[in-house]
Every structure is written in C-alpha cells, then in structure tokens.
C-alpha cells in the first residue's frame, strides 16, 4: 500500500476510484417510464388507427356502410404474434433556410403552441378553437382532477390525473378525416378485445399493453428490445364512434396499484361524456405556467437575434442554409471576452427551455493561442479545470477526422460528467476551421426508441457544409 505523507495525495487517490453502474443497472433503466420504450408502452393503448376510422366512417356515413353496420365493428388490429418489431429510426426531413430570414414554422400546430404539448388549456378554451363539438367527462373519477386540454385543429386531448401523472384518463376526440394513421391500433395476438355498448353505439374495450423486453444488455450506443403484449400492464382503452366523432379513451396506472376502473365503470364513464362544464366546476386549480424565459443553456442565455449578435461581434456570423425541420433557432449569444458568437437551434420549438438541439459556435482566429475553438487536447478531469483555451477530451474518446467542404475537421462523442468521461453517443461535437474562422457544432440530444441518435455525424457535417 502506498504511503500517504501529505493530505493532497488523497486527491489523486480519490480520482482513481472507479465507480459506475453495471450492465444490470442499465438493463433495468432502459425500460424506465421516461425512456422511449416506457413512453411507447404507455401510449400503446392510447393511440388510434386510421384504417379503423375509415371503416367506421364508411359504416356510419354511407348507405352500404349503414347496412354493414349491423355487424360488429373491430377497432383494434391483432398482430400476428404478441411481439411488435423494434421501431426503426425516422429519417430527418431537411428544409432550406435563408440566413437572416425567420425560420419556417415547424410541425407543431398552433393549438399545441398555445395550449402546450403538456395540456394547459381549459375545455372552454379548446372548444372555442376547433370546429367540432368537444365533450368532457360527465363525472371525474374519484382521486382525479382535470389537468388540461390541448391539441391541434383536427384533434383534441383532455387529460385527467391524480396530481402525479401516475394514474389518469386521457380522452382523444377527432372528426373523421380519412387519414390513414387514425385507425389500426395494434394489439397483441392474445389480446382480448371486448365489444361493449357505449350508450347507443358500439365500441371496443381492451385491457393491457405492450411492455418492453430487452433482447440483450444495452450499451451506450446500442439498445435492442422488443415490445411484448402483456394484459397485466396497467392500461385500459375504449374506442368508439358517435355522431361523426371518433373517441379514444385510455386510463393508465403507472404504479400498478390496481386502481383502474373495471370495464363496466370505464364504459359508463365513456357513455357519460357531456357538454356540461364539469371540469370548470372542479375546485382543483392546476399550477399556472410560469413565464418562459429565453433559452439558457450551459450558462449562456440566447437572447439575441443573429443580426444583433453580428452587430455586437463585428464579424460576419454564418448561419446554416439547411437544417432538419425539427430544429429551429432559439436565439443567439455573443461572448465579448472570448469573441465567440453562439447560435442555438433546438427541438422541439414548443418550449424555449428545452435543451435538445444543435449549438453553433464561431470565433475569428486572430491569435491561435487565444482561440477557444481551435485546439482539442486529450487529458483528465484535472486538465479540464486548468485548460482554459483548449477543449479537453478523455484519452478514451475516439476522435475522427471528417471532411467539411474540403477542410479536415474533428468529430467525437461524449462529455464529462463530473470527473468522469462518459461516451454518450447522444452528445456529439464537430470542430473545424475555415477562412480564418474556427467553428464548433455540438449536438445535445438523446437516443430514440430505435437506439439511434436523431442527428448523426453525417447530419452535423451537412449542417456545417451549409453554413453561409
């Protein structure tokens, strides 16, 4: 054992202690409630299928359909087995950007912007903004309260919960449109679909959902899982069509406390939808949303426009001329001490506090020794604390050379988490120099349900090459 003659030696000794969770932990956490797999599991029952609605509309609105409506309508589609295939990554859609011009409005609709992706509008507010009748629960189940409403012009969502989001009811209402993603909700081959009477129409009730099973131990870069139907999952769902409106009502019990309503009570809840202002009468007051501040990330507040940053910096600030459509400009910031302009493109643009996105930093190379975006050195956490002008990465990090419009740049994944370097595949950095300027593109992201990172190395290079 080494002799300790000075307290300062403990510093190095502590630094050599390697503590990290093992595979058992990561295997467990990959199925956690906040992961894509966990979210997919909870949403599995809540989603609606379009094919089903097509059939329903046909049956409801055409003479042939009305004749056929005497037979039972099937709202759910059984899969061939109880397993769903692993989701595949959704390819990015790229849009052309005119530097200096406002970025195009991204996919989320106006009502989502107004009422939040997490619902915060009243039923009356949402009702006044859509062109179809909006019904709400005629009786709010014991232990729940109305949390809020949100949606787009073509579909609205009402959410009721127990105050902790661990137990609640989600009600989706939408007019028949013929869109193919409205029906064909998949359920397991062994799922028990029950035909029920919802007032004077027929609906279908199902209990259970797809749960996530890991196929092998995950790593930071890969996760392999399948979704397996489980009728013990705390989910129940009811679909029905009435007066040209498709209704999907789901209840969840995250804690598996067996608090879900039984089938009859759940169906009675559906049959009791009303235009009466039931939610407006509740005494519960949902927390009011606090004013949203400008995006602040890693100590920088993106409060400037690009033009303002350009004016303050006194150099020509470049902007991407191509971006994935999920990204939009949150703002710009100028650091006069380092003479760096940073622009931050985030996704989704619903909440400026969101921290997923791509950050572009640019700095004129006037004195290479004082250039913060120029050098990339390998070192330990101690070097991170002492190296002010260099970006320190772990000796374990893999630094790749990439070509950006004819110049060679450097790309790596990972970041420091305290004194430990963690090779997060979802934190990517690309650095290069061109025309007397040093650039850094950094993606702060996440791994999607397919185990891939939405913005790849090639995507970062494409953004870099589009700078104008």
């Amino acid at each position: 054992m080494n002799t300790i003659s000075d307290e300062n030696q403990f510093d190095a000794l502590f630094a050599r202690i390697e503590l990290a969770p093992g595979e058992r932990f990561y295997r467990r956490m990959k199925g956690a409630a906040w992961t894509p797999a966990g979210v997919a599991r909870r949403r599995a029952i809540g989603a609606t299928g379009l094919t089903l609605l097509l059939v329903v509309a046909f049956l409801a609105f055409t003479p042939q359909g009305r004749a056929l409506a005497q037979v039972v309508i099937h709202f759910f589609t059984r899969t061939a087995t109880d397993s769903l295939p692993v989701p595949t990554a959704v390819p990015l859609t790229w849009v052309d950007i005119t530097p200096g011009a406002p970025l195009p409005t991204s996919t989320p609709q106006a009502l989502f912007r107004e009422c939040g992706d997490f619902p915060k509008c009243s039923v009356e507010q949402i009702r006044s903004r859509v062109n179809f009748p909006v019904l709400e629960l005629g009786r709010i189940p014991a232990g729940m309260h109305f949390l809020g409403a949100t949606g787009g012009p073509e579909r609205i969502y009402l959410l009721y919960d127990n105050g902790k989001l661990t137990y609640g009811v989600a009600l989706t209402e939408e007019p028949w449109t013929g869109s193919s993603d409205m029906i064909q909700q998949q359920v397991g081959a062994s799922a028990v679909v029950e035909t029920v009477q919802v007032g004077d129409v027929t609906g279908e009730y199902i209990k259970g959902g797809f749960s996530t099973r890991l196929l092998q131990a995950p790593t930071f870069n890969e996760v392999h899982f399948s979704q397996v139907w489980d009728d013990k999952v705390g989910l129940e769902s009811l679909h029905w069509l009435k007066d040209g409106i498709f209704y999907s009502m789901s209840a969840w019990d995250d804690d598996m406390d067996n608090v879900l309503l039984d089938k009859d009570a759940f169906v009675a809840l559906a049959a009791g939808l009303t235009t009466e202002p039931v939610s407006a009468r509740q005494t519960y007051v949902p927390p009011t949303a606090t004013p949203v501040p400008p995006v602040t990330f890693e100590g920088t507040t993106y409060i400037l426009s690009v033009a303002e940053a350009r004016q303050q910096a006194g150099f020509d600030v470049l902007e991407p001329s191509k971006l994935p459509d999920v990204l939009s400009l949150a703002g710009a910031a100028y650091d006069p001490e380092q003479h760096i302009v940073r622009t931050f493109y985030i996704e989704p643009p619903l909440d400026p506090r969101v921290t997923f996105g791509v950050r572009l930093s640019q700095q004129p190379i006037q004195d290479p020794s004082a250039c913060n975006l120029c050098s990339l050195v390998r070192g330990d956490y101690g070097d991170v604390l002492t190296q002010k002008n260099s970006l320190v990465v772990s000796p374990d990090a893999v630094i790749e050379e990439v070509q950006i419009s004819g110049v060679t740049g450097q790309y790596f994944v990972g970041q420091w988490n305290g004194p430990a370097w963690v090779p997060y595949s979802s934190v990517e950095t690309l650095r290069w120099q061109a025309n007397g300027m040093a650039f850094e593109l950094k993606y702060f992201g996440f791994m999607d349900a397919s185990g891939t990172v939405p913005i790849s190395k090639a995507d970062l290079v494409a953004i870099a090459e589009s700078l104008k």
Partner: protein
Amino acid sequence: MDPLVRSTRLSRPADFSAFYERTHLSLFRYLYGLTGGPQEEVEDLTAESFSRAWRARRNFEGSDPAALGWLMKIGRRLVIDAYRRRKVRPVMDDALGEEVPAAETSPEDLVQSGADQEYLMSLLQRLPEETREILVLRYLLGWPVNQIGTYLEIPENNVSAIIHRALSRLRRQWPDEEK
C-alpha cells in the same frame, strides 16, 4: 430564479431522459460514497431514486444544479430509510476529534491485495455522515467547495475546514510503512 441559471424542466419524458443521462453517474457515485456499496444495492438505490423523481417531477421547478441536488436528496432519504429498515451499519456521531474504530477489513489484508482505493472507501465509511458526504461531493463528484456549501447549507469556510480535518484524519488512519 436567476435567469442566467439554466432552468430544468422534467415533466416531459424527453426532458427527464436527458436529466437522467446527465446525472445518473453522479448520483450513483454519490450513493456509493455514502453507503460504501455493495454495487447491486447502490444500483437499486439509484434506480429507485430516479423512479421517485420521475413520479414527483411535476413538483420540481428550478435550475439544473438544483435538480441534481433535489435528486440527490431523494437518494439520501432512501439511504437513510434503508439504514433504518435494515440497520446495515451504525450511524456515526459527528465527532471529528475522536478516533474511530478499526475498519472491518484490516490494513494488512488490504496491503496484501494492494487495494488503496478499497481501503480508502472503507475509511470513508467510518467517517461521520456529514463529513463523509462532504468528501464524497468534493472528491467523487468533483464539486467545488461553494457548491457543497450551497447544497448542504453550510458556510463555505466550514466546508473547507471539515475537508481539511477529514483528510488529516484519513492520513492518520492510513497505514504507514511501520504498521
């Protein structure tokens, strides 16, 4: 809230997922430092801490460091609960001046295995709770003294003094060549 401090929102799964990625290693190291293991128990405590944080996420509003602090306090409560339930190890009185009993693993055993770090961890577990926590925050998580002071609501100079005295104590307990 200071507008220049990054605000953390945890209600959406994607936000919480990022929060988990940013913090799980720190939380694990923190809980390992507090408990001394075993590994699986600390993994369970870490997982349960995130699970509880997820359920209570809508009650949280604050900066990124505050979110980590909130998570760590959830974890610390779980550690205390575990102690109470199972009485895994005695809670030490906060008496820095007193010598502590010998570690369960003798220095000789550890000398043979050459496990400096293991012996250091065993000594850490013999420290009073607050002292142990401060050393864990300072050396296993790399927190600066002012951040520790803010988290534990202790004046910075007290934190520095506790660290200094704790290191002196560790050095006294460290086997020298004659031992």
